[in-house]
């Protein structure tokens, strides 16, 4: 299938006919997928539901040309702050991530500076402080691959098993620690945590950071969050989480390239 890249920071399109091709078209089978860019040609829903603080009105914000419709977002939130109440699942499984508590909702629009952005690409991002989003249906994988692009002290988590970034990476699953020897949480990065049988891999920006024997049973994944030591909360920025309930080690390079082409991370 012929692809024509539109340059760094752009989504991919087929040249003839201009059809959209997203990450999930190339790497299918995600259990849940959340992003501020469009990930699938078959997904026709919105990206996020936003609550504005001035009157607590909400509005769905969709995509334009495969990216978050920041024009509609800016119009809706003009002069006030905007917070994400729902991050819609683009996988087709309807597993939306929501936050019913106002104080824990990630921020997407600032009354003074406008749309929150991440990294050098200045793409839209969720800004999180004591924030988390709860999956509608918990995912209980045997093998898994969790991919996210984030900046700050962050990770993907659930109550009992989590991946942590705080100047290092850590998996804690079933009470066993798996610690990387490298980490850099201050810049936007692409993180992949993958389990294949008894092997656990952790990658950052295309580099293996950790490969460890892994025998614990992962418990249900039900929260997208970034860890703050005393509580399970976001502390940083994030723009994309994709969760596979299967091993994706053969697709690491392709997935990382897709994300990096869009966000220009490394």
């Amino acid at each position: 299938m012929p692809f024509v890249g539109l340059g760094v920071g752009r989504q991919r399109f087929i040249d003839s006919g201009g059809g959209f091709i997203g990450l999930l078209d190339e790497y299918s089978g995600a259990a849940a997928a959340y992003s501020l860019r469009k990930l699938s040609s078959t997904y026709s829903g919105d990206a996020i539901e936003v609550r504005r603080s001035s009157d607590n009105a909400t509005q769905d914000i969709g995509f334009t040309s495969g990216e978050l419709d920041t024009t509609t977002l800016s119009t809706f939130c003009s002069g006030t702050d905007g917070f994400v109440t729902t991050w819609y699942d683009q996988s087709g499984n309807g597993n939306d991530a929501t936050q019913t508590t106002a104080a824990n909702q990630p921020k997407i629009y600032d009354s003074s500076s406008g749309v929150i952005t991440i990294g050098d690409s200045s793409k839209p991002s969720l800004e999180c402080s004591t924030s988390s989003l709860i999956l509608t249906t918990a995912i209980t994988p045997t093998n898994f691959c969790i991919i996210h692009t984030s900046e700050g002290q962050g990770f993907i988590a659930n109550i009992n098993s989590y991946i942590r970034i705080s100047n290092y990476y850590r998996y804690n699953i079933g009470g066993n620690n798996y610690i990387s020897n490298d980490g850099n949480a201050t810049n936007q990065s692409i993180y992949i945590g993958n389990r294949n049988g008894t092997t656990l891999n952790f990658r950052r920006n295309g580099n293996d950071m950790l490969s460890s024997p892994f025998t614990s049973v992962a418990s249900a994944l039900n929260i997208i969050s970034i860890f703050n030591v005393s509580s399970i909360y976001f502390e940083g920025k994030s723009s994309e989480f994709i969760i596979y309930d299967s091993d994706q080690s053969s697709n690491f390079s392709g997935i990382e390239s897709n994300i990096n082409d869009f966000y220009s991370i490394y």
Partner: protein, 74 residues
């Protein structure tokens, strides 16, 4: 951390509802947002707590310093 500490979950639920009522959540019947703040449970300390946010003192009173023992720290 500044916040509010509760010995029982029911006390925390009541405080959460008081805060929601103060802000008028949910604003509309089908709103996703139904609470202003939520409570957490510190397993290692055995109490419930609500983290302070700006303005919460108007309904829950002045917050106090709360120390949470993290699950694990390296």
């Amino acid at each position: 951390m500044q916040g509010y500490k509760y010995d029982t979950e029911q006390e925390a639920i009541t405080a959460r509802q008081q805060a929601a009522d103060y802000k008028g959540y949910p604003i509309r019947p089908n709103d996703t947002t139904i609470y202003w703040v939520n409570y957490s449970y510190s397993e290692l300390d055995g109490f419930y707590y609500i983290r302070h946010v700006e303005g919460l003192e108007a309904v829950l009173g002045e917050p106090s310093d709360i120390t949470i023992t993290p699950h694990e720290e390296i």
